[in-house]
């Protein structure tokens, strides 16, 4: 497949009560990766390690094929990051913050910034620290999109953001991806964002990647089957996620083709089969 914009190999970071990794992750050009996991599963820690704000203990992080620590300034200029980094600068107005960020990024796009400020109705004279949670999120999002980056790292960008602005953000991310050679990693708890934006899903649990898959694979393989009965062979089958023997008798599987073959060989009829929604899949993934 394509060129990867991010390669993480054997990444590890230990804290007193938490360990992230060891972790491998690859993000290909043109893909939007959804990072999903419960609170405290390590999503924000991962972003901070990728941005070299936190020092890793072990492993390797390559952005655009280059070592982040050795080429920090060069590679970071092509990364747009939104993830609660600006809180220490709460005493500055948004205008002053923009001036500071523009100084860091030679590719700062003032036109794009002004366009987005207007689109999201932001008052640039307001002090950042005085802004509401949602407005802070929007301001960070705007900054991440204003320096022609090739990779966006977004840590719950729409948390606390009003519905209309959420829609605008989705549109702006789709527009960002139209260029084709860019990628996004987005941590989210929002099912709509996963459905409408993401191509691949990575599930984090207790600092480790427990699942990583293409969204359409799930649609194709996971299914709920309405059957005449559940044969014994399926009771402990590794591809059966759940079954109920009460009417309607149902089997939930992560490999519909395989289970259909088993059912056929046992002369069990399938009256109906249905794909699962992403929300349902997550519930099963996190329960099992």
């Amino acid at each position: 497949m394509g060129i990867s914009l991010l390669d993480v190999i054997g990444l590890e970071k230990k804290f007193q009560n938490f360990q992230l990794g060891p972790m491998d992750l690859k993000v290909e050009q043109g893909m939007v990766v959804g990072l999903v996991g419960a609170n405290g599963s390590g999503k924000s820690t991962l972003f901070k390690l990728l941005m070299n704000i936190l020092r890793k203990d072990n492993g390797q992080i390559l952005l655009f094929g280059k070592n982040v620590e050795k080429n920090e300034i060069e590679v970071k200029q092509k990364v747009g990051f939104a993830g609660d980094l600006l809180d220490p600068y709460g005493h500055l107005t948004i205008e002053e913050l923009a001036g500071m960020i523009a100084y860091w990024y030679p590719t700062w796009n003032k036109e794009q910034f002004n366009h987005l400020i207007k689109k999201y109705n932001i008052n640039t004279e307001e002090k950042f620290g005085k802004c509401s949670k949602g407005t802070k999120k929007k301001v960070e999002f705007i900054f991440s999109l204003s320096h022609d980056s090739a990779l966006l790292l977004l840590d719950e960008p729409t948390a606390g953001v009003d519905i209309v602005s959420q829609r605008k953000m989705k549109e702006d991310l789709i527009l960002f991806m139209e260029e084709g050679e860019r990628s996004i990693i987005i941590a989210t708890h929002n099912a709509d964002e996963i459905n409408q934006l993401c191509d691949d899903i990575v599930v984090l649990q207790a600092g480790k990647i427990i699942y990583s898959f293409n969204k359409d694979e799930v649609y194709e393989n996971w299914a709920k089957l309405w059957v005449s009965r559940v044969p014994d062979e399926l009771a402990n089958h590794p591809n059966v996620i759940l079954f109920s023997t009460n009417t309607p008798v149902q089997v939930v599987t992560n490999n519909a083709h395989k289970i259909e073959r088993v059912l056929q060989s046992k002369q069990v009829s399938i009256s109906h089969s249905q794909r699962l929604t992403m929300e349902e899949v997550f519930e099963y993934l996190i329960e099992t």
């Binding site: 043109g30 893909m31 139209e178 409408q196 191509d199 969204k215 194709e220 109906h272 249905q274 992403m278």
Partner: protein, 132 residues
């Protein structure tokens, strides 16, 4: 523009194939005339809730089949299609629809004779009212 296409929750047909067939149907039926711009693979994926891998594959197949064309830097457009392809595809669309109807009839326990009867009635009703 949002295309009136829909990925079925029930169908086991791969999503790229469903998308491909529905766009073909819209082109053959004339709802999408030649030169109509189509949404980008990213926008279509977002509308359908699938990944760009799927929409790219559907567009690639449509392009190979001569239904659409991609103009570098401008986007994807419906092509003027040849009469022969149009006729073949038309037949295939109708064939598939009947196939599906028979499948559903069997599911509810319809006999061959009953289905023949229903088919005759539907044809009669539809063509009489239209004067055809």
């Amino acid at each position: 523009m949002k295309l009136p296409i829909h990925v079925s929750e029930e169908s086991r047909v791969p999503i790229y194939h469903q998308v491909e067939n529905q766009i073909k149907t819209l082109i053959i039926g004339g709802q999408l005339p030649p030169e109509t711009p189509l949404p980008s693979i990213r926008v279509l994926a977002s509308d359908l809730g699938c990944s760009v891998i799927t929409t790219r594959r559907a567009y690639q197949n449509l392009e190979v089949g001569g239904f659409i064309k991609t103009v570098q830097g401008k986007g994807t457009f419906v092509r003027e299609i040849e009469k022969v392809i149009k006729q073949e595809t038309k037949q295939k669309v109708v064939y598939d629809a009947f196939e599906k109807a028979v499948d559903q009839g069997k599911q509810v326990g319809c006999t061959k004779e009953e289905m023949h009867q229903i088919f005759k009635e539907v044809i009669k009703r539809n063509f009489k009212e239209n004067g055809g």
